[in-house]
């Protein structure tokens, strides 16, 4: 029976499947996942999954029972080998061929590998988290390459499990991508306070094994010896199937504002796709974030059902490290000037505006109350608001008061 096939049973794929059913689609719906598990959330893998006393089960997004109740054919361990776009067929490793009327690619991303290094651990899936858990021993010395979200969250988890941690980042500071310097500094200070040996602005010349240990030879001559070597150096969009099917690529599977690929019957969503963002001048971006996967899954389902709304959700992501909560809304430029608003309790919100005065990003690291403020900033960004720098900096001017009234109604009815 021909219907909709979704390749990739992560957050974006599962979110799309559920949204298709919610949107009234009653035809055949197949969700193909390469992993042996039902869809689960990945954010806990670098946090709770490493810290809880017993290994927790995956945080399910769609259980087999829920899939059955929604008449979603969930196939786990299903490896897709190729797509015949002209014939509208998907070929699986087990030899089966499935016809589709519409196809969604939600193939995700895979961790970039360190060239020429053996025995390095990466984190992407549940098994990776379990492997890390067993290796993060209290007396061990862990070396982490990469000061992005994964590297820093793993550094926090390793310290909390009692391991000694050295983190090496070749850029001048941590979180260069997407987090303003002032906020990254709060995170870096918290890691230093926790005892992480944070080395920034230094590259790696060579990695060698010495028995059970790893030797990291830094470009400045220093040598780091570690029992465990973890790399969190970014992720590459999983585009193999799309490329072989002849779809346009551009730092990911290239889609338009409606998440349509260059083939009229094929769509893409989540970490794997690069899309033009209407709020940022149509700039093509690719986001590796939980919220984006959720939102794009829902948005692409609407498009597949005939909807005409372009995707223009404000990018938003979070990280939890120790007792710190980090949130970013919008697209922050690493070195652009920021406007600070100091909240009671010591946390500061940092805003960025473009040359025309439009708010384009807000970020903060600190206590949980910042979540409310970042959410309001997100609404201001969605409204293309041009708040005055003085109002942004003044804690006694509620961000809520800067919102245009229409958005309040939109937000509460959506």
């Amino acid at each position: 029976m021909t219907g909709i096939i979704i390749i990739g049973a992560g957050k974006a794929g599962a979110s799309a499947a559920l949204a298709l059913r919610r949107g009234g689609y009653t035809g055949a719906l197949t969700l193909l996942g390469a992993e042996p598990h039902a869809p689960y959330d990945r954010p806990p893998l670098s946090k709770a999954a490493l810290l809880e006393p017993e290994p927790p089960a995956p945080a399910w997004v769609l259980t087999p029972e829920q899939a059955a109740a929604q008449n979603i054919s969930l196939r786990r361990g299903a490896e897709v080998t190729s797509i015949s776009a002209p014939a509208r067929r998907v070929h699986l490793a087990d030899g089966t061929t499935l016809p589709y009327s519409k196809l969604l690619l939600a193939t995700g991303a895979t961790p970039r590998q360190l060239p020429g290094a053996a025995g390095v651990l990466y984190l992407r899936n549940y098994e990776d988290a379990l492997a890390l858990r067993t290796r993060l021993a209290p007396q061990s010395h862990v070396a982490i390459i990469g000061g992005g979200f994964i590297g820093l969250e793993l550094a926090a988890a390793a310290r909390q499990r009692g391991a000694a941690v050295t983190l090496v980042e070749s850029a001048p500071r941590v979180l260069m991508r997407g987090v303003p310097a002032a906020v990254a500094a709060v995170i870096a200070a918290r890691h230093a306070q926790a005892g992480v040996n944070l080395l920034t602005g230094v590259g790696i010349a060579r990695i060698a094994r010495a028995g059970a240990q790893h030797h990291l030879h830094l470009a400045d001559g220093r040598l780091i010896t570690a029992d465990l070597l973890i790399a969190g150096i970014g992720a590459a969009p999983q585009t193999r199937l799309a490329a072989a099917a002849g779809l346009a690529l551009d730092n990911g599977i290239a889609v338009d504002e409606w998440l349509r690929t260059s083939d009229p019957d094929i769509y893409a969503a989540g970490d794997c796709c690069a899309f033009p963002h209407p709020l940022f001048g149509g700039r093509r971006i690719r986001l590796e974030a939980w919220r984006n996967a959720q939102d794009q899954g829902e948005a692409v389902a609407q498009t597949m059902l005939g909807g005409t709304q372009p995707f223009q959700a404000v990018p938003w992501f979070w990280s939890d490290q120790y007792d710190l909560c980090l949130q970013v809304a919008g697209l922050a430029e690493p070195d652009a000037p920021t406007i600070a608003r100091h909240l009671p309790g010591g946390t500061a919100l940092h805003f960025q505006c473009d040359a025309q005065g439009r708010l384009i990003a807000a970020a903060a690291a600190g206590g949980m109350r910042l979540g409310k403020e970042i959410r309001l900033a997100e609404m201001l960004i969605a409204q293309r608001a041009r708040p005055s720098p003085a109002a942004l900096a003044a804690p006694d001017v509620p961000l809520k008061s800067l919102l245009a009234p229409m958005a309040m109604a939109d937000a509460s009815s959506s």
């Binding site: 919220r291 959720q294 909560c325 949980m368 109350r369 979540g371 409310k372 959410r375 937000a411 509460s412």
Partner: protein, 104 residues
């Protein structure tokens, strides 16, 4: 017999806002809805046990400050991922300018 718990004064909460009140080993979120009605829910998000009173209230929706799980605080209904378990709600009695609930 349900236990009557006095939570706060109606004047403690601005309209379209929420406060946290801890009583009897429980944490509650007390809401002042537009139009003057008051509602009480469990104070912690059903997703990761974060205090909801730190979140944003828009009309009848409370959003968790941590991951933006959303609930209708009148019914407790979970309205958006990652929140998928409904929030416990408590019937409210207003008397003499005080907000009280019955805890069974």
């Amino acid at each position: 017999m349900p236990q009557i718990i006095d939570l706060c004064a109606t004047s403690d909460i601005e309209s379209e806002d929420v406060i946290r009140v801890d009583r009897e080993g429980h944490s509650f979120a007390v809401y002042h809805a537009p139009g003057g009605k008051f509602y009480v829910t469990s104070g912690l998000c059903t997703h990761e046990a974060v205090h909801l009173a730190d979140g944003l209230v828009m009309e009848h929706i409370i959003e968790c400050p941590k991951h933006n799980g959303r609930f209708d605080y009148r019914t407790g209904e979970a309205k958006g991922a990652p929140a998928c378990v409904n929030l416990r709600i408590f019937p409210v009695t207003l008397a003499g300018g005080r907000v009280t609930i019955a805890l069974s």
